[in-house]
């Protein structure tokens, strides 16, 4: 059991998302940074989609009242377990009575707290993710608050003393304040003026403060259509870049509507959505055009990294168990 000692607004329980109810209009929800969730769960030996707490604003602190394997991934947020500093993307056994504190991020903006077995909240419509709009899933369908008590689904501790971590550098995380993400042009790309195409690929786009789990509103050059267009409503997915008539693009994300009607100039590829998750308001984005095949390769590269981390961590945990038994 652990108790939340302090939490800014907007911390929620999320897993890999609610995937099979698009036909009911249920948005995907789930973590914004899927890499952080996958790494946390790999370090702990959890199922890949076990539920974590997504913490988009810091500080955040929790106290453990029993020994529990935990992982802190995502934003590099000066995590401390009592007085001990935890490196980024690190898993360790928290001892009963210890307090975990996450501070101001050095880089990134969303931190994830994963626990052994994932957080023990009921699965609703196949997922433990918090559906904020419809207020179900997660913990009572709401954001977490001070005093909330949460349990992991596995009591056994499996980590070696001192813990284990992941070196994220092979995935080329964003360094500095300009994140580059790859984009496949979407259906209405050809309906925009040539200047809009040029601006899309060359401008540095500001992530505005009107950016959240539903989408990021960007500021930059106006993206103009050749002529106004009124589309029939159609499905959209996290990553789709819509351009409302004002000409300022919106990237649809985890809590976005499942259908929409604004023209789509492109879609950020699935393999780069985690980079968006860590781009904070005030950061800048650059878009790089890729083909469908290149986007699949990027997804393959990401999967290979994650499965290699899963197998290496499994070996390390098994070895640690061998030493202690």
């Amino acid at each position: 059991m652990m108790e939340i000692l302090s939490s800014s607004a907007l911390a929620t329980i999320q897993d890999a998302g609610r995937h099979s109810y698009y036909r009911d209009g249920v948005s995907r929800s789930g973590v914004m940074d899927g890499v952080a969730l996958a790494l946390g769960n790999a370090l702990l030996g959890n199922d890949a989609d076990a539920a974590a707490v997504e913490i988009p604003m810091l500080p955040f602190s929790v106290r453990f009242d029993q020994d529990l394997d935990i992982a802190v991934t995502g934003a590099d947020c000066s995590a401390r377990l009592d007085d001990r500093a935890l490196p980024p993307n690190w898993a360790i056994t928290a001892k009963a009575g210890e307090t975990l504190t996450l501070g101001a991020p050095r880089s990134g903006c969303r931190a994830y707290l994963c626990v052994a077995g994932g957080f023990d909240v009921p699965a609703v419509l196949g997922s433990r993710s918090t559906q904020l709009r419809e207020q179900f899933g997660g913990l009572e369908g709401r954001m977490l608050q001070k005093g909330d008590r949460l349990n992991g689904r596995r009591a056994e501790t499996l980590l070696p003393a001192g813990g284990i971590g992941v070196n994220l550098v092979p995935l080329r995380p964003t360094v500095g304040d300009v994140a580059e993400v790859r984009v496949i042009p979407a259906a209405e790309y050809g309906l925009f003026v040539p200047e809009a195409h040029q601006a899309l690929w060359s401008a540095e786009w500001d992530v505005t403060p009107q950016s959240n789990r539903a989408g990021y509103r960007l500021a930059g050059p106006e993206l103009r259509l050749q002529a106004p267009v009124e589309l029939r409503s159609h499905g959209i997915v996290p990553g789709v870049i819509q351009v409302p008539p004002g000409g300022a693009p919106i990237i649809q994300l985890a809590d976005a509507a499942t259908m929409g009607g604004y023209p789509k100039i492109g879609a950020v590829i699935e393999a780069d959505l985690w980079r968006l998750a860590q781009a904070r308001p005030g950061a800048k984005l650059r878009f790089r055009q890729v083909s469908f095949a290149e986007a699949l390769d990027a997804l393959g590269e990401l999967d290979a990294f994650l499965s290699q981390v899963r197998s290496t961590t499994a070996r390390v945990r098994n070895a640690a168990q061998g030493w202690t038994r």
Partner: protein, 225 residues
């Protein structure tokens, strides 16, 4: 045809949504015959290998991949071939009778629609509440129904700047479409009224109150200016 009606495509087409999915857009008119073909395609494509869900839109189909196909063009051609096969699914569903308060606090854009269409408020309400609307698709947010059957005299463009939130139960229109929101959230449409109704319950299976093929009739309870 009103200038704000969606342009009819002449050919079926498909386009990727990143590597997460793809959209198929049917050619031709926005009508029930075309939509019945989309419903049939959704049933068929939903069973294909590598497909997580196939979700009807408004005379279009969104396919979500469990495993993205290596060759998106071959996949798209297969969908077009299925459209060309002409399969269709007629659905006779249930009808929901829904009392509506038009205008007032719950319908702040009724006057805007009146001036955009050149119709009086009473005419807008009369024209809007006349048809029996068919649920073409469910989506946007949980339980929300996209309805077919709006009178072309009420076709108006979406608002230039979306509103950050409108309450659940809001009745709105945009383009050739109308619908009642199932929960509070952002909207780019014109909100002309409100209803007291729950369209979605996560503990129910299926969780949505209405399915494609069901119908809604709006009954003006009050018209406020």
């Amino acid at each position: 045809m009103n200038a704000m009606a969606p342009t009819d495509q002449t050919k079926p087409r498909f386009s990727p949504l990143g590597t997460t999915g793809m959209i198929f857009e049917a050619p031709g008119a926005f009508d029930i015959e075309h939509q019945q073909r989309i419903w049939a395609m959704a049933d068929a494509v939903g069973t294909w290998d590598g497909v997580r869900e196939a979700v009807p839109g408004m005379t279009n189909l969104t396919v979500l991949f469990a495993t993205p196909p290596r060759d998106i063009d071959t996949f798209g051609e297969r969908i077009i071939a299925l459209w060309n096969s002409g399969i269709s699914k007629a659905v006779t569903g249930k009808t929901l009778d829904l009392p509506i308060v038009y205008g007032g606090e719950g319908g702040p854009h009724l006057a805007d629609v009146s001036s955009l269409t050149g119709l009086s408020v009473e005419e807008v309400v009369g024209i809007h509440s006349a048809p029996t609307y068919t649920v073409y698709a469910v989506g946007s947010h949980a339980g929300y129904c996209y309805l077919g059957g709006l009178d072309p005299r009420l076709f108006v463009p979406r608002r230039a700047v979306p509103l950050l939130s409108i309450p659940g139960g809001s009745l709105s229109i945009a383009g050739a479409q109308t619908g009642v929101s199932a929960s509070a959230g952002p909207s780019g449409w014109h909100t002309i009224g409100s209803a007291d109704i729950s369209f979605f319950d996560p503990t129910r299976q299926p969780p949505s109150l209405l399915r494609p093929g069901d119908s809604i009739r709006f009954h003006p309870e009050k018209v406020l200016s």
